[in-house]
């Protein structure tokens, strides 16, 4: 049995030395990622109640900046493929909302139903991301 453990230790050391460990860096819990995704989710949860009012127009650019921050933050962390993918797609989704409100003409306000559906989608996807980010293993 000891021989087995020793073999495993050697394998482990070889993996660490070969640089394969960098692929696990992005797999560890990251406070900043968790903070940003929580902030996006919270802003969206507040925003959905303001659909159909002028107040939502102030919240949306803020939401867009936060999602861009998350996307940029995640982008250069090694081994962080899934987070890059999730933050990019979430940002794309929020960009659609931001663009629609940014280019709004007085007579063509986005509909309240669109706003509600869009915010609910962002909330649901943020929750999915937050759950997996929160479940990442902590540094030992």
């Amino acid at each position: 049995m000891n021989k087995l453990y020793r073999s495993f230790s050697i394998l482990l050391l070889a993996t660490m030395l070969s640089g394969c460990m960098t692929s696990f860096i992005g797999a560890r819990f990251d406070n900043n990622e968790y903070f940003l995704i929580n902030s996006i989710r919270t802003t969206a949860e507040i925003g959905v109640d303001y659909c159909g009012t002028n107040a939502v127009k102030q919240l949306i650019p803020n939401l867009w900046v936060k999602s861009l921050e998350l996307k940029n933050y995640a982008s250069d962390i090694p081994g962080n493929g899934p987070m890059i993918e999730m933050s990019t797609k979430l940002h794309d989704m929020i960009t659609g909302l931001n663009t629609r409100y940014k280019t709004v003409v007085e007579s063509v306000e986005p509909s309240t139903s669109y706003c509600t559906l869009k915010f609910n989608s962002i909330i649901r996807d943020s929750k999915i991301i937050q759950r997996v980010v929160g479940d990442k293993p902590r540094w030992m």
Binding site: M83, S113, D125, I128, D135
Partner: protein, 84 residues
């Protein structure tokens, strides 16, 4: 087309995978709102495109969960090995 779509919706909504069932629910809600003219053509198009984005997010979330599980196993084995 509509008959098939309804059957597909039913299948999606009854799916065991929570995320897929959720996407099905959202798709149905979008379709209903579009048919009731509560959302415009361009809004409808954008919301349908979002479903695809959500699908990618769900897939990447599964990948991350698998990666996290493998790191946890790796950690346990590492602490076992360091105790030798």
């Amino acid at each position: 087309m509509d008959v098939n779509l309804e059957a597909e919706f039913k299948q999606l909504l009854n799916c065991d995978n929570k995320e897929i069932a959720n996407l099905g629910e959202r798709a149905k809600e979008i379709k209903t709102m579009y048919e009731n003219k509560e959302i415009s053509d361009t809004e409808f198009k954008e919301l349908v495109d979002d479903l695809r984005l959500s699908e990618h997010i769900a897939d990447a979330a599964n990948d991350m969960a698998i990666k996290s599980a493998s790191v946890k196993v790796f950690d346990v084995l590492r602490s076992m090995a360091s105790a030798i």
